[in-house]
């Protein structure tokens, strides 16, 4: 009978039954929405019943008691990043950084009471959603504060040279360890994934003098190289010349001995013949040699054996010209 009425007269306002159905529908929808919930793949759901912690649920579709239980989703897979001393405006292939200096964060005292500008990043993950939600209120601020605390403590124990050069890695590792210790002591449920030093610089007004040191270091290398170059130019040559000198001496030695032997052999040969008839041979050799020699000679003067001086002869010679 009622239904007929509706069919006959579907016009507004609807009957009271329709209102009832609508309300019921809304109630059912609300109940369904507060019963089912989904947890994304990078998060977990933390379920509280009347404010009290009950359980943690994994990714997927789940049921809970409507109204009494509430869910808080915590991104446990995501890695969060904090920057110190600089800000990234837009990450990408060509990352854009904020032009400000943020020196409040980055300026710090080193162990040798100098000043360094240190920029770094901290990456962290939530490993314990229970602790993360219920143990510390402002966890991001805590991570930032403690990062600064730790970094200044570490840099404060190192010289400025060390922080700028060889000590970077070691300082970062040490800082990461210390930061984790502090956060653990607060029961933060946070795991520091990495702590990395970015730019570490001397303050701007000191920079030129640091560069000067680098130049000086290069100058030193250059001086040394130049000296070695000169060394290498001279020494091998000298070695070669020394070898030559020795080789020449050896050549001389061979020659000298050979000649001596030759001369000796010749003499012995002559002598063995001469011995057979010394008088004749002697005279013959003398005359033959001189006869040969005299042929070459231009002038021969003969003077009496009584003559005391040969001077008159020589002046005569001069006069002839």
């Amino acid at each position: 009978m009622k239904e007929e009425e509706i069919r006959v007269n579907p016009a507004w306002p609807p009957s009271r039954n329709w209102i009832g159905l609508g309300v019921l529908g809304i109630i059912i929808l609300v109940v369904v929405f507060s019963t089912f919930y989904t947890v994304g793949p990078d998060e977990v759901g933390v379920i509280k019943r009347f404010g009290r912690y009950m359980r943690v649920t994994d990714p997927g579709l789940h049921l809970k008691i409507p109204f009494a239980e509430s869910v808080t989703k915590v991104k446990v897979k995501r890695i969060f990043k904090e920057e110190f001393g600089f800000r990234t405006i837009r990450p990408g292939v060509k990352t854009l950084y904020a032009p400000d200096k943020w020196q409040d964060e980055s300026l710090m005292l080193t162990g040798d009471l100098n000043v360094a500008v240190v920029e770094w990043i901290v990456q962290y993950r939530i490993v314990d959603p229970y602790k993360y939600l219920f143990k510390i209120r402002d966890i991001r601020k805590t991570i930032r504060d403690m990062s600064e605390v730790v970094m200044r403590m570490i840099v404060g124990d190192r010289s400025v040279d060390e922080v700028l050069t060889v000590g970077r890695m070691e300082a970062a590792t040490e800082a990461q360890k210390k930061l984790q210790e502090i956060l653990d002591s607060y029961e933060s449920g946070i795991k520091i994934v990495t702590l990395k030093l970015k730019d570490v610089n001397p303050p701007d007004s000191v920079k030129p003098s640091f560069n000067e040191v680098n130049e000086a270091r290069q100058d030193r290398e250059r001086f040394i190289n130049e000296a070695w170059q000169a060394y290498n130019k001279v020494i091998p040559k000298a070695k070669g010349e020394a070898e030559k000198m020795v080789a020449e001496a050896e050549g001389y030695a061979v020659k000298r001995v050979n000649r001596a032997e030759g001369d000796a052999k010749k003499f012995l040969a002559l002598w063995s013949e001469y011995r057979k008839a010394p008088e004749v041979t002697r005279k013959r050799l003398y005359l033959e040699t001189l006869g040969e020699a005299l042929r070459k000679v231009g002038k021969i003067y003969v003077i009496d054996s009584e003559q005391r001086t040969i001077l008159p002869l020589l002046s005569l010679e001069g006069g002839e010209k």
Binding site: L113, V213, E241
Partner: protein, 314 residues
Amino acid sequence: MKTVRPERWIPIGVAVIIGLIVLSSALYVVDETQQVVITEFGQPVGKPITRAGLYIKKPFIQKVNYFEKRLLTWDGSPTQIPTSDKKYIWVDTTARWKIVDPLKFLQSVGSERAAQARLDDIIDSATRDRITSTSLYEVVRNSNREFVVTEVFVQKEEEIGEVTKGREYVSREILKEAAKVVPQYGIELVDVRIKRLNYVEEVRQKVYARMISERKRVAEQYRSEGQGKKAEIEGMREKELQKITSEAYKRAQIIKGRADAEAIKIYAQAYSKDPEFYSFLKTLETYEKTLSGDSVIILTTDSELYKYLKSTTK
């Protein structure tokens, strides 16, 4: 089907609504992050509730005061403090605290903001006390860790003393001193840390000037080191050169000497068989060698050669 008349519905509805209001005022939820003190007309009732869950109270007349149960942040503003060695520095501390006795907290400070203000005074004065009685390097450094030396060693203009306390120790001292005062507020001070530490502007300029002069000295040292090394290599080169040439000379002389000696021996052995014949041959050889077209020979009439010449011309 009988229709219910609206006149009957009204009282039921009113009753339900009143019931709901009463219930919502009687029931309250304490969250995992909260703790609660119930007050009745401002007067605390019973023990504070620190366990999360659903609770019941007298509706309307009892009030629920919620307090944070988690660790809270306190961040001080930087203050200028002189160290015991009269260096002015900016010190910025940060602390972590929590409400451990909400009842006391409610009675003594009432709100978090008021508590922060109390902490400002307490931690600031504790920090000031500690820093002024500590020298700068004790606050900056944390231990006596040896620096890794990377540059040439340059004597410091300012000697840094032995670190007996270090920053962590100083932080702990501040915490200890401040923590003594706070329990009366129902607060526990968990940690106090020195966050930032910087020179005041004038000191900073001086430090920069010192850093610059230090660098210049390092640079100078590098240069002179380079020059020294260069001279050293040059000296080595000269030495090596002299050694090589003189050694070669020595060897050459030895070789030649040995050969000469050998030759002498050979000659001597041969010529000693008949020295007279040798000198005769040598004389002839000399004549042969020395006489040439320009030579003039003067013969005495009694010389052997003259006799010979006479005989041949006859």
